[in-house]
């Protein structure tokens, strides 16, 4: 008997107006795995990630998080599942009128999971997890891009998720900061055992951090393999995409 996957995506499709964004996408993500979705801009990978996070509903197929089909459930049930999913947005999506402390504490305060000294302790711990001790009083506008992404990760971690979804975690960052974020993703998985799905078109990031990765092209899954398998793939689309990084493209 095989263990139930943390995420099971089956034949997922998404149409917006008359445009097909995703078509027949299927894959499983095992517990504690770092799974990457790569592909060119506009290939549908962010749409797929938002479907996994319950932010948009697929127009076909099923998405099971811990066995619960989030594509078919009502908003109240979906909210219960969302609390097991942390979402790290491409541009961090921090609440710009709140301090770093209030951003990280937000989910806990809204769902009355902690208050007072317990809340302060959790926020400090989550900020320490992302190496941002002492940043509690700053506002998002006072942070660099890399710091904002780390606060976004701390906010996602605060609600103690089983699954973490990262949308382009290294885009817009310099290589050194990007590498620090890569390390943080792996470190977070190793320490907390969370299942991670990373959307990226940054090939070095995908190859460095992933246990397995899938390539999406024009809304369809065209390859799924380990980083080594993708590097050695004979599939022309995959070869072109993966080796474009080697040639600096």
């Amino acid at each position: 008997m095989t263990a139930q996957p943390a995420i099971a995506v089956e034949n997922v499709g998404y149409r917006a107006s008359d445009r097909v964004i995703l078509s027949g996408v299927s894959f499983n993500v095992a517990r504690g795995e770092v799974f990457s979705l790569m592909g060119q801009s506009g290939s549908g990978k962010t749409t797929l990630l938002k479907c996994l996070g319950g932010l948009i509903r697929p127009t076909g197929g099923s998405i099971r998080i811990d066995g619960h089909d989030i594509a078919a459930m009502g908003e109240a049930d979906l909210n219960r599942v969302r609390l097991r999913i942390g979402f790290v947005f491409q541009y961090a999506a921090l609440f710009d009128s709140m301090t770093v402390f209030d951003n990280v504490a937000f989910g806990l305060v809204q769902h009355r999971r902690a208050k007072g000294s317990q809340l302060r302790t959790i926020v400090r711990e989550r900020l320490a997890d992302v190496h941002l001790e002492g940043a509690e009083g700053l506002y998002p506008a006072e942070l660099s891009g890399g710091m904002q992404k780390r606060v976004g990760l701390a906010r996602a971690l605060a609600i103690d998720p089983a699954v973490l979804l990262y949308d382009e975690p290294t885009s817009g960052l310099d290589p050194v900061t990007g590498r620090a974020i890569d390390d943080l993703i792996v470190e977070t998985r190793d320490r907390l055992g969370v299942t991670s799905v990373v959307v990226s078109h940054d090939i070095p990031t995908v190859l460095r951090i992933s246990d397995r990765a899938a390539m999406i092209s024009e809304g369809m899954l065209v390859a799924l393999d380990t980083p080594e398998g993708l590097r050695d793939s004979d599939e022309p689309l995959v070869r072109e995409f993966v080796h474009s990084a080697d040639s600096g493209g």
Binding site: K50, G53, G54, L55, E75, N79, R80, R82, L83, I85, G86, F87, F89, Q90, Y91, A93, L94, F95, D96, F106, G107, Q110, H111, R155, I159
Partner: protein, 268 residues
């Protein structure tokens, strides 16, 4: 063939406009009803509601006073001249007071709050949408309707009668000053006002402001929540919010006037 093509395109445009209008009405009502549901279930943040009451209501009062005083003074300037000329100056106070209590006071308050606070609501929520802050709320199982719309709706509906009342007082005050400068004694103005207008007229006007408050927040939040494509999208959402709010305030004012005063006029 060319005429047929033009007719098809025209029909297409008309059906698109009708479809868009139905979507807009359904969306706005849906948002308003969900927010009312949150308020009735006590799922509204009290501190944020009080903050919004200050932002939407109290902070709007200076521009409401400024526009109402000016409008009242201009109205008195024209009316007192004509009424004094025909020896009907005894009606000046009552006519102006009725005009303000039933119509201009609530309308000016509605338009000013729509222009100031409605625009601010649409811009703030629109910016949150395009920067994915609203998605971040949803990802943490927080309803944007409960978190963003409900406090603003409760605050606006609660503060609009105050804005309407202040508009009435400021408008009538401005008209008293101007009328006295044109030969209508203050005492005569007030006597006429007491004779022709009463608390029922004040109440009818203030009831209108409740509807205007609901309309402003429903439309502004709807436009903000549907904003897309960056700063330009937020700009479009803000502009369309103000235009739609003002148009809807004027159109609904016509029907509210019929509903609230039409019956009493017909029986007189």
């Amino acid at each position: 063939m060319a005429t047929e093509g033009a007719a098809v395109r025209r029909n297409g445009r008309q059906s698109n406009a009708l479809y868009d209008t139905l979507i807009f009405v359904g969306d706005s009502w849906g948002i308003a009803l969900q927010a009312i549901g949150c308020i009735l279930r006590g799922k509204v943040r009290l501190r944020e509601t009080v903050r919004q009451m200050a932002a939407i209501g109290v902070d709007s009062l200076p521009i409401v006073v400024a526009t109402a005083v000016s409008t009242g003074a201009v109205l008195a300037f024209y009316m007192s001249g004509v009424l004094v000329q025909f020896g009907a100056d005894a009606f000046t106070g009552g006519t102006i007071a009725l005009t303000f209590l039933l119509e201009l006071g609530p309308l000016l308050a509605g338009v000013m709050v729509a222009a100031r606070s409605g625009a601010a609501i649409a811009a703030e929520i629109g910016t949150m949408v395009v920067t994915e802050q609203v998605d971040a709320l949803r990802s943490m199982a927080v309803s944007p309707i409960a978190y963003l719309v409900a406090p603003r709706l409760a605050a606006c509906v609660a503060m609009m009668p105050l804005c309407g009342f202040v508009s009435d007082v400021a408008g009538i005050g401005g008209s008293i000053v101007m009328a006295s400068l044109h030969g209508v004694p203050v005492e005569a103005f007030l006597d006429s006002m007491r004779l022709m207008a009463d608390e029922t007229d004040l109440a009818k006007g203030l009831i209108k402001t409740l509807w205007f408050g609901l309309t402003i927040v429903a439309v502004a939040c709807r436009q903000g929540l549907r904003a897309k494509r960056g700063a330009a999208g937020v700009g479009r959402a803000t502009t369309s919010s103000v235009v739609l709010c003002v148009v809807l305030i004027f159109v609904s004012d016509f029907f509210l006037a019929q509903l609230l005063t039409g019956a009493s006029v017909a029986t007189q």
